[in-house]
Symmetry: C2
Subunit: 278 residues, 2 copies
């Protein structure tokens, strides 16, 4: 760097985690070996930075501390401390007083309704996190593929799954996607409407409702592809489905907040609608 030009050093540091991520991707592939190791490790454990020391990050990446130091400067920071500040601020903004508030609600006393809210909120949040963590992207893509090619989508979900199925019916209707909700209103199913070229979306969780299982079995026999939205341990269902989408819903007491299931179901619906329009 002979002239006043120092192309790597005096950049302004990323101000947001988003910007950090972008620069990380931009640098990817054009870094020396050790620096690349740092980049890789940081990319996959970005949330560790806020609470780790240089030595810990270095050990995690399998490099000496000085390499981490160079990496920070390569990213535009003056050093590790400045980089860490970014993540600490992001972390404290993420959980402002929400955790405190939750705890206060819980502390109100076991009998208080507000305590129940706190518990259900907590269960819902955990379910969401589990969904984001464990989502099987290829299964999801396959489900979208299958459903978007169907002439009509059949929705099956009873008992605790019925709210999800009925919401999907509403959403599909809004989106202009032909869908039938198998609600069993008159005591019999819409079984005869299952035809070649359709697809079945079966939503069921343990204990699996008999109606849903038999409908899925019937669909398979008819040659209608079955997408199942269920919990991970669904051994009874796996044999009946072409595509298996699993969600772990944390429950509180005997009841589930359904938040993760609905989030996944909604995504599926919107993706299918988008896919059909192209």
């Amino acid at each position: 760097m002979p002239k006043g030009e120092t192309p790597t050093d005096p950049r302004d540091p990323p101000q947001t985690v988003e910007a950090f991520r972008n620069r990380l991707m931009a640098l990817n592939g054009q870094l020396p070996r050790r620096l690349q190791q740092c980049a890789d490790h940081v990319a996959t454990h970005m949330d560790h930075i806020a609470l780790s020391t240089v030595a810990q990050v270095a050990q995690g990446a399998g490099v000496p501390p000085s390499a981490v130091m160079r990496f920070c400067q390569e990213m535009g920071f003056s050093g590790y401390a400045e980089m860490q500040r970014l993540f600490r601020e992001a972390l404290s903004r993420a959980a402002p007083d929400y955790a405190t508030r939750l705890a206060n609600l819980k502390a109100g006393g076991a009998g208080q309704p507000a305590t129940l809210v706190a518990e259900f909120v907590e269960a819902g949040r955990q379910s969401m996190e589990a969904l984001a963590r464990d989502l099987d992207e290829s299964a999801l893509n396959q489900a979208v593929e299958t459903l978007s090619q169907a002439r009509t989508i059949h929705l099956a979900g009873f008992r605790r799954s019925f709210p999800v199925a009925s919401y999907l019916a509403y959403v599909f209707d809004k989106l202009g996607v032909p869908a039938v909700l198998h609600d069993g209103v008159a005591g019999l199913g819409h079984r005869s409407t299952l035809q070649q070229g359709d697809a079945l979306l079966a939503i069921t969780f343990a204990p699996y409702s008999e109606e849903t299982l038999s409908l899925a079995a019937h669909a398979r026999k008819t040659g209608v592809p079955v997408v199942a939205l269920t919990d991970p341990a669904a051994s009874q269902v796996s044999g009946l489905a072409d595509t298996l989408l699993t969600v772990t819903e944390i429950d509180f007491g005997a009841f589930r907040s359904l938040s993760a299931v609905i989030a996944l179901a909604l995504s599926l619906a919107v993706a299918v609608a988008a896919r059909r329009e192209t």
Copy 2:
């Protein structure tokens, strides 16, 4: 403390945030002035501890650092470092790599189904936080009171609110609470079943469905108390309800994940069932 008894010092430190909070409450009121200042500040800014230094906490509480030090020991820790460890561990368990994973999903590309999941999860999480933050406890208690005294609970919710209403019907049934779901199956309501001594739980969000509003109006005229579960800006509803429970549901695109509404509705149902049994 003449004998071997030292009742305040060599206690085992709290192992969980919960235990910490308990000891804090137990100590409240029986601490010297400066220590009490520390306790107050810590109680209201518990989430700051994980990322702050002694000096920062001390400044926040308006005391010298040594006072904070004594406070930590009074709480049973060897010092500030040990106390901070508790909160750091809680924090890192709270956000494992969930944030990273979400970002990765989002980064997949705008058209990807997985991106949608990330968006809906994010919307759901925000809704949950908003619920915990803004919950009106007294309104909730009043709603529980009203519904638990009802002979029969009538559930009204159409269109996007129908899944919530139908889930409540399921839950109430499980809990042995008499509840009627107004589903309008045969093209007419169950209006005539609304009787003195019953209560109506009306679930509706903008744009408010005509059926729900007119049912609520009818209930009022009949002398049946109305509990409304709706969004904060519900001016049309406020005149029709005796108790107003509001939820802010963040939406993504045109659709809502319903997670906060369901969490609140579930809490209401369980609290009502518990109340009736006593």
